[in-house]
């Protein structure tokens, strides 16, 4: 054990020495597991920011390279091991990740804090992470689901809806969202008649729907996944005539749902993270040019996470996490020169000249509270079998 420790310490030192001209950035995402369909575009988003910084030639600390690790999204032990490898063997100076809330919390406590490595997660949305001990090392470019809960309560109460039934997918995401919505909706004077979990991957949801229908409510809030139980619950509700309108959370957003359910879905509505900002359009153009889908979930957030880390390093003139993490909040928020995607070179110049910048990026980044995105949501409704944007919040 002692030898192993010595050896790993030695490797860490050597890695540290070798990286004088090379800045390594860990990209810790669930490249296998339940999110494996969206992580390639997330990884590509981070790579895009890194490539842009390298191509600009303005990053004086060295050449940036990405080292990928697999968080698996669900297995905390595997994610911790992968993060440990990134930090000790590869000697990364910061981590973009993790992706799912559970593993992100585990990596933060077991790897990032003991080793003093800063991390910015593009997609962990659990409200629990807002209050987690982080020694100032943890940020996220994704909004907390506490925020989504408030948005949902706002939208529903503005429509004059007073009581809803709620079903959520039985995991951290679904439970967290259900709780935050319940609190926010109650504060607005609304009632959740029943908050019932559903398991993903079942063929039959008639029993779940029977309970939801019995509890009643003006409409059904579905906090699940579009290609999983969420779709099954909606189908069974429509078949049995239990509910006819649905509120769809971010995980329920997708054309696939309209294709599967068809006409009865008209009149349902929801909100997804998104902005109408100039940065979002610009990022999508850049992504298309780079050969990946910029509209894929959390891909812009990943670009912003990587870009923020590198900007902060430049501002601190150090790759040490203790130094650069202190700069993140300043860079992300006003005042300063606004920076859009594709302007990272310009941003580095401004930083070198000592001018303050306000990183807008692909998702109109604005960090609040414990360093998490304030959250911009696109409210939409489904009319005539198409998703129509109602407005932005």
């Amino acid at each position: 054990m002692k030898k192993l420790l010595l050896a790993s310490a030695a490797t860490a030192l050597m890695a540290g020495a070798a990286s004088a001209q090379e800045v390594k950035l860990g990209v810790l995402l669930g490249f296998t597991g339940p999110l494996e369909s969206i992580t390639p575009a997330m990884g590509a988003g981070a790579d895009l920011a890194i490539k842009e910084v390298n191509d600009s030639g303005k990053f004086t600390l060295g050449t940036v390279s990405a080292v990928r690790g697999d968080s698996t999204c669900i297995d905390a032990a595997a994610a911790t091991a992968a993060a440990e490898r990134l930090v000790t063997a590869d000697g990364v100076s910061g981590i973009v990740g993790g992706d799912c809330s559970g593993v992100t919390g585990a990596v933060l406590q077991n790897v990032a804090r003991p080793n003093g490595i800063g991390m910015i997660s593009p997609s962990a949305t659990s409200p629990a992470l807002s209050t987690a001990e982080d020694d100032g090392l943890f940020f996220r470019t994704a909004p907390s689901d506490a925020r989504q809960g408030e948005i949902m309560a706002d939208i529903l109460s503005e429509k004059g809806i007073k009581s809803v039934a709620l079903t959520y997918t039985n995991n951290d995401y679904g439970k967290g969202l259900a709780d935050s919505f319940g609190t926010a909706f109650a504060a607005k004077g609304g009632t959740v008649t029943i908050s019932a979990p559903h398991e993903d991957g079942k063929a039959d949801y008639s029993a779940e729907v029977a309970s939801l229908a019995s509890a009643g409510g003006e409409m059904l809030v579905v906090a699940g996944y579009v290609d999983q139980g969420g779709k099954g619950v909606i189908q069974a509700s429509i078949d049995s005539g239990a509910f006819s309108t649905f509120y769809l959370v971010d995980g329920m957003y997708g054309e696939a749902l309209i294709e599967a359910i068809g006409e009865p879905l008209n009149g349902s509505f929801g909100a997804v993270p998104g902005t109408d900002s100039e940065g979002a359009t610009k990022f999508q153009e850049m992504a298309t040019a780079a050969g990946f889908d910029g509209t894929s979930a959390f891909s812009p957030e990943s670009y912003d996470a990587a870009a923020l880390i590198l900007m902060a390093m430049a501002a601190a003139n150090s790759t040490n996490s203790k130094d650069w993490t202190t700069k993140v909040m300043d860079l992300a928020n006003a005042p300063g020169e606004p920076i859009l995607p594709g302007e990272l070179g310009k941003a580095l110049e401004l930083i070198a000249a000592g001018t303050d910048i306000d990183y807008i990026g692909a998702t109109a980044v604005e960090l609040v509270g414990a360093g998490e995105s304030a959250g911009n949501y696109r409210e939409y409704s489904i009319t005539d079998g198409a998703i129509t944007t109602v407005g932005f919040r």
Binding site: P197, E199, K202, A203, D204, S206, A207, V209, S214, G241
Partner: protein
Amino acid sequence: MDILNALVVFLNFVFVPGLAYGAQLALGALGVTLIYGILRFSNFAHGDTMALGTMVTILFTWWFQSMGISFGVLPTALLALPIGIAVTALFVLGTDRVVYRFYRKQKAAPVILVMVSLGVMFVMNGIVRLIIGVDDQNFVDGSRFVIAAGDFREMTGLAEGLAIKTTQVVTVVTALVVMGLLFWFLQKTRTGKSMRAFSDNEDLALLSGINPDRVVAVTWIIAAALATIAGVLYGLDKSFRPFVYFQLLLPIFAAAIVGGLGSPLGAIAGGFLIAFSEVMVTYAWKKVVTYLVPESMAPEGLLQLMGTDYKFAVSFAILILVLIFMPTGLFKGKSV
């Protein structure tokens, strides 16, 4: 008090779904119980036999649909069903020839055959996933409802709607026809009688000149047909996903054991018992009770015994209770 509305709510959310699910379980349990009675082992590959049969039926359904063949208001899958049964029967006969016959010749203990069927299960599992993939497959067509909830409300003027899906009617009718045919076959035909004789006492049956190979082959063919029909009905009514069929093995076995392994009547009773108790124990009775009692006594809570997550737990609780008090099941099957 509003008895009519209460009845409609009960029918819509408990009785109709429970009846369809029960019919599907009963058909599955019949296959398991036949194999147990005649071949004397628990066939763990039954869930995946259902998946295989359904997969073949789905592939032919898609082919029919692409050629523009349809079955009017009924699902096209019913046309493809005989082909599915034939292919599945050939497959299980082949499996018997290659795998089970070897162990039967050796007079292997039932537990060895159970383990063998576990191996067969994994192979079939893999084959199905390789061919059709792990995702949901939707193959239902034809008209969706016999009565839609909204139409029912308009027709009757009641506050509550009753929806009956075409697939639910198809399920129940097909199940009744198949069960009727099976009982007729076992009671009235020569082959059926020889199968029952073989099940009651193998040695005596052999002495009286019954051809064991023929009995085994017919049993497999019937089991394959039952599995395919059960699988296709389940897939039509809900949706097809290989993993779900693998999980179906649990309630199907619970149904077969509760009813009494080896007893066809028990399998049917067990199927409905498991289905209805899963739905009724996890149902929130608030709405039904609200309609039945005077307004002042309307319940505040949901009146739900346990969450719907515990569905599977219900079938196993019943299984354990039955095994403690009636070890041979409700209909005096063979003890496990």
